[in-house]
């Protein structure tokens, strides 16, 4: 093989190829080490993502021939009342649940960081417990806690003199309350632990200086701690936003495995809507691909907005230099 190659005049292209193969051979160890990721990613992630975009312009039931229909899937999607209902539910649940997990997480971290209380590790451990727990199990427990006739929450309501509330039944809208409670219950500890780690990375000098200047605890929180934690807050926000759009297990279990979100679609989320078009339930693979792309677009747009809002200004960057390594 090689003797044949030397016989023919070496073209530029050939030489490049040779150099490439030589480099590949010379550095083969490193390439072998990184190969699994790139191969698996190309097959199982990159190809589906590209194919999904293509597929979103076709009508396909998974069996018969593909029908090119242009942007009809997207038009139908925007016309579907149920899709907007799912989007509204997801945003409503996500936005309301973010209040306790952001502010609550920050407040709890601030309290534990304040040196006034002890047992930081015990509280951290307790608040973090939901993160290692199966969402299905959590949902089943909360289903019982929120039950109309026998639930613990309605018992509290009646102890305080209220009427029993039909959380999971009724017109289906209160199921969102249950989902919000579960979402907040699950994520608050995770946020808190991350914020606390961030706070402990802030140099004590800044706080001492603030104390000398007579700043109150609230002032240090809002003027020093939160601005310095911006990158970390941004990280948790993006993560929980992705979590919001992936929200599926909790409402799915709470509505007794209903793919349409229970009564009046009260618990329908975008992820549930997507999976119900295909592969669970329907066979509208082209349409479902369009839905998947729109959900992705939502995630990208919202993350970009957060990034822009949180973009550090010059003076804050100077302050951030006061941070020591965590």
């Amino acid at each position: 093989m090689s003797s044949v190659k030397t016989a023919v005049p070496v073209t530029n292209n050939n030489r490049n190829q040779n150099a490439f193969l030589k480099a590949l051979y010379k550095y083969r160890v490193a390439y072998v080490y990184i190969a699994p990721f790139f191969i698996l990613f190309a097959i199982f992630n990159l190809y589906p993502i590209v194919a999904g975009f293509g597929l979103s312009f076709f009508r396909w039931d998974g069996m018969s021939k593909l029908h090119f229909i242009g942007i009809e899937n997207y038009l139908n999607l925007f016309k579907d009342v149920l899709f907007w209902k799912a989007t509204g539910n997801t945003l409503l649940i996500g936005i309301i649940a973010h209040i306790p997990i952001l502010l609550g997480g920050l407040a709890l971290a601030h309290i534990l960081n304040s040196k006034l209380v002890r047992g930081e590790n015990i509280f951290k451990t307790i608040y973090f417990m939901p993160m290692v727990t199966s969402s299905v199990a959590i949902s089943i427990i909360f289903m019982q806690l929120f039950s109309n006739n026998y639930g613990l929450i309605n018992w509290f309501v009646s102890v305080f003199g209220g009427e029993k509330v039909n959380w999971l039944g009724g017109d289906g809208s209160l199921i969102k309350v249950a989902v919000i409670v579960m979402f907040a219950w699950k994520w608050i500890g995770w946020n808190m632990v991350i914020y606390l780690a961030g706070m402990q990375g802030i140099s004590q000098d800044i706080y001492e200086a603030a104390e000398i200047d007579g700043a109150s605890s609230g002032q240090t929180l809002f003027r020093i701690t939160i601005p310095l934690l911006k990158p970390i807050i941004l990280f948790t926000l993006v993560q929980s936003t992705i979590g919001m759009f992936n929200l599926f297990t909790e409402p799915f279990i709470l509505t007794n495995s209903s793919w349409t979100g229970g009564i009046n679609n009260g618990g329908l989320t975008v992820m549930m809507y997507l999976l119900n078009k295909a592969p669970q339930g329907g066979n509208a693979y082209g349409y479902a691909s369009a839905v998947a792309y729109i959900i992705t677009l939502f995630i990208v747009v919202i993350s970009t907005i957060f990034n822009k809002v949180f973009e550090e200004k010059d003076d804050e960057q100077k302050m951030a230099k006061g941070r020591k390594k965590a």
Binding site: A23, Y27, V29, A30, Y33, I34, P36, F37, L40, F41, I43, F44, N45, L46, Y47, P48, G52, L108, V117, N121, F123, K124, I126, Y127, F128, M129, P130, V132, T133, S134, V136, A137, I140, F142, M143, Q144, N149, Y150, N154, W155, V193, A197, G198, I232, I242, N246, F248, I253, N256, M271, L274, L275, A278, P279, Y285, A292, T296, I299, V300, K325
Partner: protein, 277 residues
């Protein structure tokens, strides 16, 4: 006077912390309590708040409904295989990016970072079609192989290698006549143990509790992982809640106990990537 004010403040802070702690513990406590109650005790108002005596009967009823041992085994198999492959591939990749020089390294690493920003949702439908074309539906392969080398893991391992693995170490081992594989498994891997444990915990917990992917892939009850087996016990009516709660306990308890024993490890593993080392 000032002292009194401070004491009052501390008391209020403790009350807040303890109240939140009770809210976090209560669902777990109720799960344990309900798994020892008869179904008609669970269906009573006001709710029973103390343990009952029906644990053994609930256990028998649970085994009639689901093969919990098998589901436990399935979960363990999927989670361990996935975590093992993930740690192997991620440490290989991270080690190469951190300590080797090779053409295209910068560009490939940029590609890797970019892939972290693309949500998997975009490709979920073709991914499912692919699994069915490969004949991987209702197999564990579909849950283990596709995502076992992930970009975040490589990124994270690279950071760790850069700070902890001196390049001279490899040169020294090479002079001693070790092959590349021997160097990786005998010399490098032991240094990476802290990184392995953090990344491993993260992957293990997420895979153990995953519901959506198994729901799409696994079809027959003998293949069910724990979350799927749990879900299969809940139906529209006639739920045997004592048995269901006991099954939930079985799914939750192993990780919870492990977490309580090594909570620092778990917390640093599960929040890895959020806080810079």
């Amino acid at each position: 006077m000032r002292h009194h004010k401070l004491t009052a403040k501390i008391v209020i802070l403790y009350i807040i912390l303890i109240l939140v702690a009770i809210i976090m513990i209560l669902p777990f406590y109720m799960m344990f309590v309900m798994s020892t109650l008869k179904t008609n005790e669970i269906y009573s108002f006001p709710p029973h708040l103390w343990f009952g005596t029906n644990l053994a009967a609930n256990w028998a009823n649970m085994l009639k409904q689901v093969d919990i041992v098998r589901a436990f085994g399935n979960s363990l198999f999927v989670t361990c295989s996935y975590t093992f492959l993930c740690l192997l591939f991620c440490s290989m990749g991270g080690y190469a990016f951190a300590t080797y020089d090779f053409p295209g390294k910068k560009q490939l690493f940029t590609v890797l970072l970019t892939t972290m920003m693309i949500p998997f949702t975009a490709g979920i439908i073709p991914w499912f079609i692919m699994m069915s074309k490969f004949g991987w539906l209702n197999t564990f392969r579909a849950l283990i192989i596709p995502s076992c080398a992930n970009a975040f893991g490589i990124f994270w391992m690279r950071q760790y290698c850069q700070n902890n693995v001196p390049i001279s170490l490899r040169e020294a081992a090479k002079i001693d006549g070790c092959s590349e594989w021997t160097i990786f498994f005998r010399v490098i891997a032991p240094i990476l143990i802290p990184a392995y444990s953090a990344l491993g915990i993260m992957q293990f917990v997420n895979t153990w509790n995953d519901f959506m992917q198994p729901l799409m892939i696994l079809r027959t009850p003998q293949m069910f992982t724990l979350p799927l087996a749990l879900k299969s016990m809940v139906s529209d009516r006639g739920n045997d809640y004592g048995a269901i709660m006991l099954a939930s306990t079985c799914a939750v308890l192993p990780l919870l106990v492990a977490f309580l024993c090594a909570s620092k490890f778990f917390m640093s593993g599960l929040t890895a990537g959020a806080v810079k080392e």
